[in-house]
Symmetry: C2
Amino acid sequence: MVQAKKSFDGFFKSAFTVDNVIFGFDDGKLKVLLIKRNEEPFNDFWALPGYFVQQHEDLDAAAQRVLRETTGLENVYLEQVHSFGSPGRHDFGRVITVAYYSLVKVADFELHAASIAEEVAWHDVEEISTLAFDHEEIIRVALNSLKRRIRTQPVGFKLLPPAFTLTDLQHLYEAVWEVDLEKRNFRKKILSMNLLRDLGRSQTGVAHRPARLYSFEENRYRELEEEGFNFELKEGKRK
Amino acid sequence: MVQAKKSFDGFFKSAFTVDNVIFGFDDGKLKVLLIKRNEEPFNDFWALPGYFVQQHEDLDAAAQRVLRETTGLENVYLEQVHSFGSPGRHDFGRVITVAYYSLVKVADFELHAASIAEEVAWHDVEEISTLAFDHEEIIRVALNSLKRRIRTQPVGFKLLPPAFTLTDLQHLYEAVWEVDLEKRNFRKKILSMNLLRDLGRSQTGVAHRPARLYSFEENRYRELEEEGFNFELKEGKRK
DNA sequence: ACAAAAGTGTTCGTACTACACCCATGC
DNA sequence: GCATGGGTGTAGTACGAACACTTTTGT
C-alpha cells in the first residue's frame, strides 16, 4: 500500500480552505458578515471569514472553528453551498475553497475580530465593494442559493429575532427576492400554514397601530413535515 | 511573498479528486453510471467515475476529462453538487472530492472502459451495492439534488430520447420522485407549458393505441424564461 | 385631527383534483 | 373480440391576485 502511495505523491500538494457566507437581516436590509484581513495575500481587504482546513479536520468542523476564531460566532448551523477551485485563485499555490453559508440573528452575536481578522462587520449585500480572492463570486452563489431556499424551507425565520411582526417577515422576503409582495395575500398564506405562534403581545412606542408579535414554532413545523406538509411561498413579480 | 508562503507549507499536503454521478433513464428505471476500479484502493469495487485533479487544472475541466478518460463520455454538461472531505475517506492521505452530476440519454453514448476502469456499466439506482469510498453517500446526495431540480427546471428531458411520449415523461418523474402521478393532470400541465413540439408521428409496433411522439423545444423554453415563465411541477403523494 | 402602518372582507379567475369514459392497435 | 395503454371532458374546489376599507397608535 505504501508502495502504491508513492506514485501518487504528485497529487498531494494542494491546500484547501473553508469560507463562510453569514447572512443577517437588519434595518430592513440583507447583510453579510465580513472580516478585514491582516495577512497576506489581500492584506487589508475585506473578505469572507475563512481559513485553511487542518490536515485531519472534518470540513464541517473546520468551517465552525474558523468562523469562531475569526468572528467569535459560535454554534451556528452552517450548510455547504459550493466549492471554488480555479487554478489561479490563490497566490500561494493550489487552494480550493469549500463555501458554507448560514442565516443568523444579528442581535444574537457580539463580534470579536481575532486570528487573521483585524475587524469584523456586517455589510449590506447590495453594497459590497472589492473583496479578497473570488469572494464576491462566492457571495453571489450563496445568495442565489438563499433565494431558492427560503422559498421552500422555513429558514427565513432564522434571520429574525424570536419575536417579530408579519411585516418584518414580509420585508425580509422582499429584501431577499427584490420584489414587492401584496400584504393581504402574504399574511393569509403565512398564517394558513400554522407555523407561527401569536405571542399575544404587540410592539410598543411606534407612531401607528402596534403590530402583533409572533414567534416561529419549530416543533410545529417538524410535525407538519411528517404529515407531508410542504412549506412554499411564491415570489411575486420583480420590482 | 515567497517568505510568506514558507509558513503555510504544512497546509499544502492534500489532494483532491472529482467524482461524477451520471444519471440515465432506461427501461422505466433511473440508472447511474459506474466503473469497476482496477487500482488500489478499492481495487475491483464498483465506483463513480472519478480521479485526481491535476495541479493546474480547473475543477470543472477536470470533471470533464476524468469522465472522458474513464467512460468515453464526452461533451456532457456537468454540474457541481457537493464536496466530501471526511478525514478518513481515502487510504492514501487527505483527499477531498468534489462531486458533479449530469443527466444523459443512455442511447447517446457508447461506453469505453479505460484508465482506472476495467468495466463501465449502468446500474439501477435502486439496487446499488457496496461501492468504493463514500460513493454511496455521494449518489444519495446527488439524487436528492436531482429530485429537487427536475421540479423547477426542465432537465428531465435530458434523460429521454429526442422523441418521447408523454407517458415516457410521466414514468420518468414517477421513477425519480417515487410517486404515482395522475395521467390526465400531468398531461394537461405539461402541454399547457408549450414546451413540447408534437412531432406528428406515433409509436409503431405496440399492442395498443400508439402514443404520439414529442420533442422538447429548448429554444421555446429560453424564450418563455425571458418573459418570466417558471417551469414547475408538483410532486404528488408518495407511493 | 392627522399621519402611518396594522389588520380584515370579499370578489374574481385560474389552475389543480379526481373520475369516468372513449379510441386505436396487436394478437 | 379482447386486452392494453393512449387520449379527452368535466364538475368541484382550493387558492392566489387584486383591491378597498376599518382600526389603533403617537404627535
